[in-house]
């Protein structure tokens, strides 16, 4: 989207307002119908000079099992940029219903460390609207730079699915070849996730999506129980990979069966070494140890 126009916001939008606005938009569209757009808004939202709150950073690091260092964890930066990403999807000219969208996958490239002391310029835009066998999907692209600098330190691509929404002119892809059935390896760790896991992550990430907060709020959204936040799970896996990843790496996760709380989650992390024994990649997969259903999988890899 080279033709994208940049809209500079004075400050990071408040997620709570965005959620309320999204609910209002959803109601309005139910009454008045969708606005009929089939294109993504060609706008990049930007906030300049964003600073992380150090108390919040420490709480985040402790929650997901990172040491409280001065380097922002890659998942923390995702949370920092998330309201801006939401604000793009919350625009009136955004063609899909924001509430109820499903986070399918996430890819992050952390090219260089970001310290909490640095002021940051954060940009977000939407891209790559395309069909999915179950609806319509798109990418939200966020970029983080040190204030006033050109070099992108962190780039995240989050792929979301609007389930059951089919826009005219966007073809459903043919049904993909079914992947081989998942066969659970021996776990390297077991996580015990309490029912408050969703609330605890909401408190440090600022993402108070009702599906994560409590059984009641989740039921109001049509779920039987509350869910662990996908980025909480992926960030814990990233923390478990450990210091071997260094300060620059790529990080991918694909989400499958949601984790209903409370839960036990089995995890396997396997390391792939390059020639000479240097760390090349750590692959991770998490599953329900009772049902054997896969919750998510991904990898953390050295940048080539």
């Amino acid at each position: 989207m080279s033709s994208s126009q940049t809209v500079i916001l004075g400050e990071m939008p408040a997620l709570s307002k965005l959620y309320v606005n999204a609910a209002a938009t959803a109601a309005r569209r139910r009454v008045l119908g969708t606005h009929g757009g089939t294109e993504l808004p060609p706008y990049t939202h930007e906030v300049r000079g964003v600073r992380a709150d150090v108390t919040n950073l420490t709480a985040y690091q402790h929650l997901i099992g990172e040491t409280a260092s001065d380097v922002l964890p890659a998942g923390f930066i995702h949370a920092l940029a998330f309201p801006l990403a939401m604000s793009v999807m919350n625009r009136d000219d955004f063609p899909l219903p924001l509430l109820g969208m499903i986070h399918l996958s996430n890819t992050v490239v952390q090219s260089a460390p970001v310290l909490f002391t640095e002021a940051l310029d954060i940009r977000a835009r939407v891209d790559n609207l395309r069909g999915h066998r179950a609806g319509t999907q798109l990418d939200v692209v966020a970029e983080v730079r040190a204030a006033g600098q050109a070099e992108v330190r962190w780039r995240g691509v989050s792929t979301y699915l609007a389930k059951g929404v089919f826009l005219p002119g966007i073809d459903k892809p043919s049904v993909p070849v079914a992947p081989p059935p998942f066969s659970a390896p021996d776990p390297t760790a077991i996580w015990q996730l309490g029912v408050d896991t969703g609330r605890a992550y909401a408190a440090v990430s600022g993402d108070f999506n009702p599906i994560h907060l409590s059984v009641l709020t989740a039921k109001a959204m049509g779920l039987r129980r509350s869910l662990a936040h996908g980025m909480y799970l992926a960030s814990r896996a990233l923390a478990d990979v450990g210091a071997v990843k260094g300060d620059s790496f790529s990080w991918e996760v694909a989400f499958e069966a949601p984790v209903f709380l409370p839960a036990r989650v089995a995890l396997d992390i396997s390391t792939v070494q390059a020639g000479g024994g240097a760390w090349k990649r750590s692959d991770y997969v998490a599953w329900n140890p009772l049902s054997g259903r896969r919750h998510f999988s991904g990898s953390v890899a050295a940048l080539s």
Binding site: S69, D70, A243
Partner: protein, 449 residues
């Protein structure tokens, strides 16, 4: 010859030591020390130790390196941190195959990790080591009361509901009050400050002398920062790049206005204030030690050799000696073993738990009576050239995160010694002295390389 009532070998050639190889200080790294409730309030011991460790790893290129052994400790320690040092290693960029152990000897913890690991290097058991220490007075463990603890344990053992209810019925409101750590001595109930106030009065240390020592500590530390002395000894953390207790603009006049906080009920004049006593502090420090071969193979500097160390303890419980006076005995014993006097040193690093501690120790060494009756010498042990004392500041200015102080001092002293090189035709020599709770003290000699 007898020192402290125990007969020790007289001046001699250190026999065993000459056959051992050297253990050298390669360098150190710490995070700035923060006053409690400040910048590190939410950081745990493990966070701070890992931060100091990662700075050391970055400075000396130790990523993925399997270090011979890492030893560190904390004085205020959560029971969940039983493997604090190993967990910090696992969270650091060192090879996960680096072994580690925790050590605890109150405020001497940091120096004792240096001595223990240096000994292993001298014996050829390991080639490299990282010594360290950390403490958080902000994130201190709080235990449940003894009453609640007993109820909880019995509750866990109770099999039936009626038995469980019976156990629970023993709970009283007072049992719910938490048990916070304090600096009181278990056997006397006196805080460390009150103990030192007794010693300070006993040695007739004046308020003015204590304030002057505190003033010098701030002045020297501020000058050291301004001169860039800490540039390769320190990694910023949580927004701090200098010790937050440092008051570069303090003056003797300002210090003189402070009200006494310890020893107010002694009868004698109270002289110890918040200015000439060390505040509670959070922080961590690390020191990289190695054999000369390892340092050479890794193309790393060799700042100073860890020559020897000595621990001592005093019978403070009924007041025979002051709580923090053990170094007054440890130093004469250590120097006797090496046939050295106080005049053979170029730097003295005497930990400033309180200004009164340093001055009482120096007074004891200058006292004829103490020298004869307590040290078994012909007269006074000796006096030091004050211009060689804590020349880059010490705990009164930097703060004192208990277990982290040893690493701070050893790394700084090793750098000073290396900078000085030779003195009087011999390698520059430094003395470290650290007092500790429980009436203990650990001291050490370092020599320039």
């Amino acid at each position: 010859m007898s020192v402290n009532g125990q007969s020790v070998p007289g001046p001699q050639e250190p026999t065993a030591a000459t056959q051992l190889r050297k253990a050298v200080v390669v360098g150190g790294n710490r995070i700035p020390f923060a006053r409690t409730g400040g910048a590190y309030t939410k950081s745990s011991n493990q966070d701070m130790l890992t931060a100091a460790l990662d700075g050391l790893i970055a400075r000396f290129g130790l990523q993925d390196e399997r270090i011979g052994e890492v030893a560190a400790g904390a004085v205020l320690k959560h029971s969940r941190d039983f493997n604090l040092t190993r967990e910090a290693v696992l969270g650091s960029a060192l090879s996960a195959e680096t072994p580690a152990y925790d050590l605890q000897q109150a405020c001497a913890t940091g120096l004792e990790t240096v001595l223990g690991l240096a000994n292993k290097i001298k014996l050829g058991q390991i080639e490299s080591a990282i010594a360290g220490g950390v403490d958080s007075a902000s994130d201190a463990p709080i235990a449940v009361s003894e009453g609640l603890r007993e109820v909880l344990l019995d509750l866990n053992r109770a099999k039936t509901v009626s038995r469980k209810l019976q156990v629970l019925s023993r709970l009283r409101p007072k049992d719910l009050a938490p048990d916070a750590p304090n600096t009181g001595e278990p056997r006397t109930g006196l805080s460390m400050g009150e103990h030192q106030a007794l010693t300070t009065a006993q040695w007739k240390i004046t308020r003015e002398a204590q304030d002057e020592l505190a003033f010098n500590s701030h002045k020297n530390l501020a000058a050291a920062y301004d001169a860039g002395f800490f540039d390769d000894l320190l990694t910023p953390y949580r927004g701090l790049s200098r010790d937050s207790n440092l008051r570069a603009d303090t003056s003797l006049e300002k210090l003189a206005t402070l009200k006494p906080v310890f020893g107010k009920n002694l009868g004698a004049e109270a002289t110890m204030t918040a200015g000439n006593s060390t505040p509670l502090t959070d922080g961590a420090s690390t020191v990289l030690l190695a054999s000369e071969e390892w340092a050479d193979a890794h193309d790393l500097p060799k700042l100073a050799a860890v020559v020897d160390g000595e621990a001592a303890a005093v019978d403070f419980v009924h007041g025979k000696d002051g709580l923090l006076m053990a170094p007054a005995f440890a130093v004469p014993r250590l120097l006797a073993r090496h046939n050295l006097t106080l005049e053979d040193f170029d730097f003295f690093e005497i930990h400033e738990a309180f200004a009164g501690t340093v001055l009482s120790t120096l007074a004891a060494w200058e006292d004829e009576e103490f020298g004869r009756t307590r040290l078994g010498l012909d007269g006074a042990f000796g006096s030091i050239d004050r211009s060689k004392l804590n020349v880059n500041g010490s705990s009164l200015a930097a703060g004192h995160p208990f277990a982290a102080t040893g690493g701070r001092i050893v790394a700084s002293l090793a750098k000073m010694l290396h900078g000085k090189g030779q003195a009087d035709g011999r390698p520059a020599r430094g003395l470290v002295s650290i007092c500790a709770a429980g009436g203990q003290g650990v001291v050490a000699i370092l020599e320039a390389l």
